[in-house]
Symmetry: C2
Subunit: 241 residues, 2 copies
Amino acid sequence: MALRTISSQLAAQLDKELMGPEVGFTLEQLMELAGLSVAQAVVKEFPYSESRKSQVLVIAGPGNNGGDGLVCARHLALSGFQPVVYYPKRTTKTPFYAQLVNQLEFFKVPVLGAGDNWAQYLDHTKTLCVVDAIFGFSFKPPVREPFGSILEQLRHTQHELPIVSVDIPTGWDVDEGPADSDCIIPSVLVSLTVPKPCATKIDTRETHHYVGGRFIPRDFALKYGFEPFPYENLDQVLRLH
Amino acid sequence: MALRTISSQLAAQLDKELMGPEVGFTLEQLMELAGLSVAQAVVKEFPYSESRKSQVLVIAGPGNNGGDGLVCARHLALSGFQPVVYYPKRTTKTPFYAQLVNQLEFFKVPVLGAGDNWAQYLDHTKTLCVVDAIFGFSFKPPVREPFGSILEQLRHTQHELPIVSVDIPTGWDVDEGPADSDCIIPSVLVSLTVPKPCATKIDTRETHHYVGGRFIPRDFALKYGFEPFPYENLDQVLRLH
């Protein structure tokens, strides 16, 4: 069956409607569920074992995609992993992002900032995977610093150190796919709510694809032109292939 | 092993600390996770099947316990159940409770108010279980109307229509247990974060016991005098017995 997707423009409209006065979701609620679903995808792909490495590097961008990453890191800490967060550009748009950082400190998760030596964690002998929570569906090129250099480093390590991208592989055009051959190739893509068109460009032999962010009813999905995904029980994530 | 519990007073302090400036959780986050965990307990106890009844009556009280019930109802709707919510006394303390009701209407979940015929749903041929989200750990007797009459009706139906209590079986003394033989006996108790002392008074032959509301690190649990619970993977709920 063809992959169901919606454009970046429709995705923005969907998000706006979810948080608008009629539906009334708060950012805090949606981000908690989205971040939890990404953490569940990580756990499904890389099951925790006491006897092996459990470090996960989460790279958080300045917007909502980054927020999903911060929540994901906390849930990973709850399930035995050792997340380390690199969060070089912090937003002050709402105090909630600072609260997400406080919550991580509560769990003793290191949160590195600009100038910290984050690249030491790109070590596949110690780190299980990297969560790319840099940019989401509202990303418009070009990638600015420091994220350009970060992506370049991730490209160099991606063959030993798998990347889990949140919603969009950072740097890809949301509607068109990878802009050039220099783009990162994630091992796992976790689409949120519904895949965006770039997800049709992943090579299913190298990238596992999940959908997460389970918070809309059937009618609403149909209104946006896609069939709901057949999640099991109360799983927050579903593997598509 | 003895059941780990904390008193109602310590539970209030723990909640306050979680939402205080140092840790920085928001009510929206904690309620989302708590309500999701209760929904997961319902699904574990009464697995959804297309071929049998799937109606769940959620009775929501005026405070945070009620809010957990509203969230639980939404997650049940997401997983195929048909929740009906009875919410006779609504709070206007924060607009968030009204938003939780909007979210339920988004899922076409009926939300009944004072004066509506809620008791028609106490029908064990159609309804799978009742979620008692009336009062939580800050409850002080006596039970006031309309909740006294509601509890009386639940007592009459509890042998055919199982009750799932959120954190505290409503009407029980939080620290002492059932106040008299007229108290409801839930079939399932879902303690949130950590059981309160009344949970030691349940008869394990008639009540299954879960813990949910998974959002604190090990050190914090130890500070409050209990060992963390051994949740599996990213399950939000754990069956204790």
